[in-house]
């Protein structure tokens, strides 16, 4: 396969499927070539710049990246929760449950939100209404979406609090958010998100504000309810440990683009993109004790001044001249669904490839120099 063919193939299909057609029945969410820009005083920020991935029914996908890589904006675009302007959805399609939802009227979108797609945010205190009891907040949502009466709504609220492990839910529904601890509020958020049994749960850094023992509780809870309700999970986080425990597939983002995607095991144990490799390498762990942490040099480029070629080139340890002029495509690596955005995987990078990926890493690839 030549590089030209690969690139051509990618450009006709946005992501996996041709534009304008519904994905297969097994795909719940299909994001194709999504582009979200922000128009601000200093210019245009291409926050999400051609992002394509899909979430199977009941599947779990993690969106990973550092601050400002576009992972949260991707979620907010899917939920259509961005303020337009300054945001603008410039291009792409989002297929959810057989329908394209970017073009859906707001009325229908509102029905979809909460009913079929629910979202959990990082900071539960600011996402809950401080002047309503948690019972009122959950039952309000249940009544709106499931068209049940007040009593039934409250009953559902109590039931959902019980399923997320809150004891005495009959008493707790009468409490206000400020009367609860951080972990407890996040449980309320999860209860609320799950009260309408959504098909897709989007969790944006659900445990980042929590202590590690509370994080463990919430992750176990999310896993348990996800397994029970069979809803799909899209988890957004910067924590590689959290994704490793929670999801089957990983999408790594950098500067608005996907730089690598594959199964959790592929991405975390045999990363094929230098950025992912750098991220994993920079985690402090036992084996590096005493030695130096391998840090990624430099900082994330300014969104107003992105490098002309590969966006990671200025920080990449394997950079060569072509990287500074050619923008790499997200191309299949290894033939098992893993993709990476790096010139090393094109024929032009072939001579350098062996030096970068040691034999252990490359044994899983079909890139021409197998085990």
């Amino acid at each position: 396969m030549t590089a030209e063919a690969t690139v051509a193939e990618i450009s006709v299909t946005i992501g996996e499927r041709p534009a304008g057609t519904a994905p297969g029945e097994d795909i719940l969410l299909d994001v194709r070539g999504l582009q979200t820009h922000f128009h601000v005083m200093d210019g245009t920020v291409r926050a999400v710049d051609g992002v394509s991935f899909s979430v199977p029914r009941g599947g779990t996908v993690g969106l990973v990246g550092e601050s400002a890589c576009g992972k949260s904006v991707t979620a907010l675009t899917i939920m259509r929760l961005l303020d337009i302007p300054p945001a603008e959805i410039v291009g792409g399609e989002v297929w959810f449950d057989g329908r394209e939802i970017l073009a859906l009227p707001e009325e229908e979108m509102r029905h979809l939100r909460g009913n079929d797609i629910a979202m959990i945010f990082q900071e539960p205190l600011t996402s809950l209404n401080p002047v309503l009891t948690v019972g009122d907040q959950i039952s309000e949502q249940v009544r709106l979406h499931l068209k049940v009466d007040k009593k039934e709504g409250l009953g559902r609220a109590i039931e959902s609090l019980r399923t997320v492990g809150i004891p005495n839910p009959e008493q707790r529904v009468k409490q206000y958010p400020h009367e609860m601890s951080g972990g407890m509020r996040q449980r309320v958020m999860i209860a609320m998100a799950l009260s309408c049994e959504p098909k897709l749960l989007i969790a944006d850094e659900p445990t980042t504000a929590l202590d590690v023992t509370i994080q463990a509780q919430i992750l176990e809870l999310l896993k348990a309810v996800q397994e029970r309700t069979k809803s799909a999970l899209m988890l957004i986080t910067h924590d590689l440990g959290v994704v490793a425990e929670m999801v089957d597939e990983i999408v790594v983002m950098y500067a608005g683009q996907i730089v690598e995607q594959g199964t959790a095991e592929q991405v975390l144990t045999r990363p094929m993109d230098p950025y992912t490799m750098g991220l994993i390498e920079s985690l402090p762990s036992v084996k590096k004790r005493g030695g130096r942490l391998s840090a990624i040099k430099g900082v994330v480029p300014s969104p107003f001044n992105l490098p002309p070629g590969c966006r990671f080139a200025p920080r990449c340890p394997y950079v060569w001249d072509a990287c500074r002029t050619t923008s790499p495509e997200l191309i299949p690596v290894g033939g098992h669904g893993q993709r990476a955005r790096c010139l090393l995987h094109t024929p032009a990078g072939a001579p350098r490839r062996a030096a970068v990926f040691d034999t252990a890493a490359s044994s899983g690839t079909t890139a021409g120099h197998g085990a």
């Binding site: 407890m184 463990a216 176990e220 985690l283 130096r292 990624i296």
Partner: protein, 422 residues
């Protein structure tokens, strides 16, 4: 936020200034209930304390270098019985209605050249402890010896001179730098406070400090907003470093940073320790970072150290049930290693009203496994030495093991209640 490290603020450290000559006496450690913390004590109260303490004016101790003569491996900092209690006021008359036991009797030593880490969840008192050690917060009781010097007995003028030897780097790289000051002033402020008034010499020191942390000398005219989070944290480190300290408290120095930047700053901190002969008190909630940087670790829970050991020992064979739970809770970035997690019940209890006996007994999995022995509720365990250099505050520390924890984790359902029912 003002920079407490380089300019001691009057409301915390300089109470004796208000008093007449006798107030040159050391600041009394106010464990007496008559004087409430957080309020400016009256001149009379200070005089009374001073007379009660004997009214002796201490001899001018030479403050040149309290760490002088201490070689690598000897204790540079010795903390004993340190307590910090904050009063809670309430009611119509604003009487003290409760006490927050933020730091409640802590003993540890930091050896010269070591990285001693304090780890714990939010509200465990690790930050308050770090600040009390520097007397940015006045202790309620206990002593802190820096070399031969008892920091808790120092006058404010002596304390100010000591500040150049003991520095702090704060967590928030945005809140801890004055947005209206150029970098030269942010770093130079502490030098002025230490009496370096010569502009040229100061600029040189500022430039040297910037270079040491990997920033360019000519950044001195820039303002904090022109820097990224990682660079700001470097400026915070440069500010501490410019004073040529022996000892630095690093309060969550990398917690606000992205992973790739975090490793840059950690590398920098470890390099500086070697290059400048520094000793660190490293405070963090991140167990992987702690494991990477520390020589010795103290695990805190509700204002107390519950386990104290070398980093290797602590991570290899933890002996306190809480430490085990903390370690088990770290998400592992390797998807091939999936383990059944030991999940604690409920939240950390309030430090206003810590549980009787062992503070951890309300969430303790070992206690449950042992059939809820009475001892855990009736008696507070000591921080006992189990092996040389390894202490744990648990009646049943000998019974703690990874196998026991795994057994417990396997037996229990995954959805853990949010609150422990009494």
């Amino acid at each position: 936020m003002t920079d407490q490290a380089t300019t001691p603020t009057p409301d915390t450290d300089e109470t004796p200034v208000a008093a007449p000559t006798p107030a040159d006496a050391p600041t009394p450690i106010r464990a007496t209930p008559g004087v409430l913390e957080g309020e400016e004590p009256s001149v009379e109260a200070l005089e009374r304390d001073w007379q009660r303490d004997g009214g002796e004016v201490p001899s001018e101790e030479p403050l040149a270098d309290p760490a002088h003569g201490i070689v690598e491996g000897e204790a540079l900092l010795r903390v004993s019985g340190l307590k910090k209690h904050f009063p809670v006021y309430g009611g119509l008359l604003r009487r003290q209605v409760a006490t927050v036991y933020a730091v409640d009797g802590v003993d540890f030593e930091v050896r010269k050249g070591d990285v001693f880490s304090l780890v714990g969840e939010s509200g465990c008192g690790k930050t308050t402890l770090g600040r009390t050690v520097l007397r940015l917060v006045e202790p309620t009781a206990g002593t802190v010896h820096f070399g031969a010097l008892d920091v808790t007995r120092l006058k404010s003028s002596e304390l100010r001179r000591l500040r150049s030897k003991m520095q702090i780097v704060f967590q928030d790289p945005f809140g801890s730098l004055n947005p209206r000051m150029p970098v030269s002033d942010i770093i130079g402020e502490g030098l002025i406070a230490q009496g370096l008034t010569d502009r040229k010499a100061r600029d040189r020191r500022v430039g040297d400090a910037l270079e040491a942390v990997g920033l360019r000398r000519d950044y001195t005219r820039r303002y904090p907003h022109e820097f990224s989070g990682g660079q700001r944290q470097r400026i915070g480190v440069a500010r501490a470093l410019a004073l040529e300290p022996d000892f630095i408290v690093l309060d969550e120095p990398v917690s606000a940073l992205d992973v790739s930047i975090q490793s840059q700053v950690l590398n920098l901190l470890l390099d500086l320790r070697k290059d400048f002969d520094l000793t660190y008190l490293f405070i963090s909630h991140n167990l992987s970072v702690i494991e990477y940087v520390s020589d010795r670790v103290g695990v805190m829970y509700l204002g107390q150290i519950v386990e104290l050991a070398s980093s290797e020992e602590l991570y290899r064979s933890p002996r306190h049930p809480y430490t085990l739970a903390l370690l088990s809770a770290i998400p592992d970035p390797d998807p091939r290693r999936r383990h059944k997690r030991l999940v604690l019940k409920g939240d950390v209890p309030s430090p206003v009203n810590p549980p009787a006996g062992c503070h951890f007994h309300t969430r303790c999995w070992l206690r449950e496994q042992l059939g809820n022995p009475e001892q855990c509720v009736s008696a507070e365990p000591d921080l006992r030495e189990l092996m040389p250099g390894h202490k744990a505050k648990c009646h049943f520390a000998e019974q703690v093991s990874g196998a026991k924890a795994a057994e417990f984790a396997a037996e229990h359902s995954t959805v853990v209640p949010a609150v422990v029912d009494a």
